[in-house]
Every structure is written in C-alpha cells, then in structure tokens.
Symmetry: D2
C-alpha cells in the first residue's frame, strides 16, 4: 500500500466519521433529548456506567458534569458511593448486551435509580430497562458515505471497526448535552475551568 | 430557555463538531500522517500519555492498537513497564503544557524513545520535543460554523467548552490511523474482535 | 476522646493487623501454596480480577508479576486482551460473592482458563469455581488479640472494619508469593527494578 | 528449589512483614499521629496522591474516607476537582522523589492546601514540603527478623523487594487512622457499609 493510499484512508475515515455525526442529529427524537436534560438536572447523584471504549466516553462526560458542579461518579473508580433512590444511571453500551454493564444497570434500577441508556441496539437489555432511551451509531447509508467507502476499496466497517461509530457519536452527543446544560444553568466556559482539576 | 431551544442547542453543537472534524482533514499534512504510521509500525513498545479527557482519548486509541496485536501501554495503569530505546511515546495534550504530561514526555525522550505529539498548540512544550507533530483542533472559521453559532446566540466556545474540539478531533484522527493500520496490516474487523477483552 | 486514646487506637489497630498477618501463616495449606506457584509459572497469560479494595490488592500483585517479566493483565484496564485456553485467573474477593467478580470468573472459566480464588469465604461462589482455593482473613481468636481489643474498649470489627483484615492479609500473602517466585526464577531485586515503570 | 523450600519462603516472608508492621508502631511519633487526624477532620476536601503501588495504598485509604462520609478524591481519576485553600493533600511515596508526585504536591501547596507526607525517606522532596511528616517502612533489625532471613538463605530485600515493606506498613497505618476516625466520629461498621459502592 502506497503512502498516498494510506493518507487517503485516514482522511476518508475522518470525513466519514464527521458525516456520520452530522447525520446522527436527524435521528434524535426531540422529547428524548429534553428528557436526558431533565433527568440530569433533577438527579441527586449521577452514576456513569460503561465498559471498554464506551466507558471512556462515559468518563469524558462525567468530567464535564463535574466541571458544571453536578455530583457525578464513575462506576468502578475509587470513591464511588452507594446508589440511592433519586439517583440517575447513565449507561453507555453500543451492543447494549455487555454482561457486567447490564448487571450493574439492573442492580441500580432495583435500588431505585432512574436510567438513561445510550446504545446502538434498541432491542438490547440495556435499552429495555431504560427510562430514557437514546439510540445512536446506527449506520446510515448516504451517497456521500458510499462514495467515501468506494474510494478506499474497503467496507464501511473497515473504516470504523467494531463500535467506533457509536463511540464517537455518543461522545459528540454527550458534549452537545453539555452545551445545552451550560446554557440552561447559565455557566460560562470560565466556570468550568475553575472546577477543572489543577492536579493532573 | 424553552425545550425547543435546548434541543436546538444540542443539535447545533453536534453539527458544529461534525463539521469541525471534516474541516480538520484539510489541516493534516500528508508526510506527518505517514510518519505517524511508520513510527507505530516500527516501535518495540508504544506508550500512550495524556491527562484528563485527552488521556481518555489516548486510552481509546491504545485499546484499538492492542486489538491490532501491537504492544501498547497506558502510562499510569498498573502493568506499564519501563521505557527503553526503540519505544514510542504518543503524547496527547490540547494545550501541550500540562505539567505532568510534559515531564513524562521529557523523561521518555531522555530514555531513548521517539515521540509523536498531538496538540492544538504548535508552540507548546509537548510540540517542541516531538519527532512527529500533529496539530489538531484549531478553530477554523467557516460560513457554516458562523451560522450554527449565531443560531444559538452563544459563542463558539459555549458550544464546545475548553478542549472539546481538540478531544473529539483527536479521537477521530486516531481512529483514522487505526483504519489505515488495518489496511496496511491486512487485518479485518474479525481479527480485532478476537483480541477484544472477553472479561469486561 | 483524648489525644492519648486516639494514638492508642491507631497503634492497637496496627498491632492487631500485624498479629493477624502472622497468625494467617498457620492457616495456609502447603499443597495450595505450591499450586498457586505452579499455576502462575505455567500460565500463558494471567488476569487479575477484583472489585473495591480487593481489586487494589490485585493490582499491587499484578505490578510485581510484571516486574518479574510475566504476562499479566488487570481486568477493567485499557489494554487487557481476550482470555484463552491456558490462561489463569487470579480472583480476589473477601465475600466471594461480588456479582461482577463472580460473573467475570464464570466467563473466564467457560473460556478455558484456570482459576485461583483468594477469599475469606470458603463456601462462596468464587470459592466453588476455583481450581486452587486460598482462604485468608478469617478472624482468629488469640489471647493477644483479645487483649488488644479490650484495650480500646471497642469490638474487633471497629479496629478493622468490613474486609480490612482480608485485604491486608491477601496483600501480604501475595507479596509472599512474589518472594517465592523471585527465588524460583532466580530474580534479584535489580531485575525487578529494571522493569519498573520509568514513567510514573 | 523444593516444594518445602517454596512454602517456607512464602511463610517466612509473611511473618517478616507482619513483624515489620508491629515494629513500625514504635517508630510513630504521637504528636504526628494526632496531627494526621486533625488535618483530615478539618479539611474541606482531601486529595490522595501517589504513583505505582503507593498510589494503590492511597486509593484503599480514600475508599475508607468516603465510607466515613468525608469529601475525598484520588488525583488522576475522572471526577477529581480543583484544589483550593483549606484542602488537604495526602502524599504517599516510599522514595519521596517520584517526579510526578513531587510536582503535584508542589502545585497543591502553592494553591493553598496543607500536606501530609507518608514516606520512608525523611530527607526526600516529598518530606520537605510536608506540614505533617510520617516516616514508615525503614528496615528495623531485630533478632527475630535476622532469624527469618537466615532461614531462607536470602537477603532481607529478596523477601520484600523494592518498596514492599513501605507499602504494606503504610496501608496498615492508614487503616489504623480509619479505626481512630471511626471512634472519634462515632461511626460503626454499619455506617461504612451503607456508603459502600452498591455497583461494583
């Protein structure tokens, strides 16, 4: 494979992922976006749950919620306390079937927490237990994407293997939620900066 | 703020981030993309270094490198061994000035490792020590982005506070590198899946 | 509570924990200690599994196994690969009933791995699935401990709440295993030091 | 090396570590133990800092402080906020010279936090910046230890390589501090259990 082909693959993959993010906007249902915001603002404590790269996306979201002054914890980190009634789970799982994630979600629900599920699989266990369901990362066929794929002589999948599209779209969606929370709570960038870890 | 305005903010932020990713492609210099690939394929061991959300982006990349069968470690995790000559550091820092990240990069260089820096600040310390420098996440003004921003009566920053644009663009860029590595090493999605953690 | 009483509590608690560690030695069964060593030395890859403070004890052990040059991973960290036949699970759980830990252990066994369980509960699920079972942290009544407890007018438990005795005894036991592995593999302290993370 | 010798090494190492913990009690200075307790109870927020196995000991301590209802964070985890005047750093470093740990401690001090240093090196940088200094893990020669060492024909070091004695003694010391905090704040084991993570 030549240098030119390599660079062309990197660029086509990036354009395809960017296009996927933009197309995902049209898949969002308005009342569900509002429900995510409402649940976050009314929760006593927020717990982010996810495994693998979905778990990393969840942590990126948790860090911003902390910057906004909300009480948020990452399941599996050291100082995460007990779940109680009035708390909120934010569950991120592309397949919606990761065993440990589903188990934790069930226990949290049993303890009285509400649950937002972000998944690419609306028929999964993580989806079925949700109070608010956000479906992201489904592969949308467009002429532009077809063109990008053909260009690299590969398949859609080889440009974004496994859960890549879901993970990137989830990260962007959750950063969009942060933008809305900043507006609603009238927080400016400087307010977030002041809470940002000074020891890192 | 009304429900409609909230939803409009989420969607505008997502579209803006997607557009930013696509625009970032034109900022990439071809020889640097090739140099990233070459350094990764010729490294004995790869060490990913980053703090905060940049560190999470680094971990997402490290997981895919492991899926590809490469020897990769995340600085700060439990089983990360010593750096030696012939190793590669992948340093991710939006500001390029995070103290602990710069310190670690210097020590790694001193021990004989090569270094790829991914930053939005080409004049930073992380940039100056780099063997390969990738600059991402600079704010590119386009008519489309102006429109998105005006629409929400906010500033560019409030739609993507602090390092958000850098973090998302870095994640997409590094996933583009994975797509190219899959092609070069002739790995299919199934090869990655077989290495994916079965305990998670 | 006076300053003197506070200091007396700290010291009594420490003496009690030290005594507990020494007493635990007599509870170990010789053939099981040998089986732990044999399984570690013959494993293709080693996976450490644990939640909470038991998980931290597991990571401390994993770091030393890495120092010894063995292929070891911590379940839940970024670059942990798939479990295969010939691999070894080291499961650490005081209660032996932590849901996620038991689930992961079962999956690992199903995939063909062997399993060492370290627990204070020989009747737990984690114990039942084990190929090698090490029971530690049971509260052994001795005259010396009775004296220490009476001295602080508290109960045994208040000097070492929840799984504290198990966690400390496990950590010391696993460091004892490291001492034996060093002897068997003829590794000196300097060999470990050379593999110790230089970026931390 | 025979099976008997292996088992004898494990047991001698454990007894040696237990004896070391008990001997460490006599090294503690009373006013410093009291100062640790006072600083913890009067801190606005507590930040635990450490690398490698010392960092794991710090996390085990942080988890118990959370169980006691205190506001505590682990530097490097996701939701750790900014340090402010009135906060407390708990720095754990055997050598007292780990670069990143010393850097973080200096920044924290500069931002107005108080600092407890736990180290085996009273002349280290981590020791010099401390408001309260606890020295642990120095090797104390006793007849009993001499006997244990000769028994395995090794050196003291090979039974507990690198910082092992410091790490175990620190863990036990900090668990002793937890015992005293429980007494002072009149918390029972059940109070801790109620705050313990239900999702793990």
């Amino acid at each position: 494979m030549s240098k030119d082909e390599t660079q062309s693959t990197v660029k086509s993959a990036m354009k395809m992922m960017g296009a996927h993010v933009i197309n995902a906007v049209d898949e969002l249902k308005d009342d569900q976006v509002g429900a995510v915001i409402d649940h976050i603002l009314s929760a006593r404590k927020i717990f982010v749950i996810g495994a693998g790269r979905s778990g990393l996306v969840g942590r990126a979201f948790a860090m911003r919620l902390m910057h906004l002054g909300l009480r948020v914890f990452v399941v599996g980190e050291t100082i995460t306390p007990a779940v109680e009634k009035g708390d909120l789970l934010v569950v991120i799982s592309g397949s919606g079937e990761t065993q440990s994630v589903v188990d934790l979600a069930k226990i949290g629900k049993y303890l009285g927490a509400k649950m937002i599920s972000i998944t690419s699989n609306p028929k999964s266990k993580a989806a079925r237990h949700a109070d608010v369901l956000i479906v992201l990362g489904k592969r949308v066929k467009t002429n532009e994407m077809d063109y990008l794929e053909r260009q690299v002589r590969g398949t859609h999948r080889s440009l974004a293997p496994l859960g890549t599209l879901f993970e990137i779209t989830s990260m962007v969606f959750l950063d969009g939620i942060i933008a809305a929370l900043m507006e609603i709570t009238k927080k400016r960038e400087m307010d977030l900066k002041l809470r940002h870890a000074t020891l890192e």
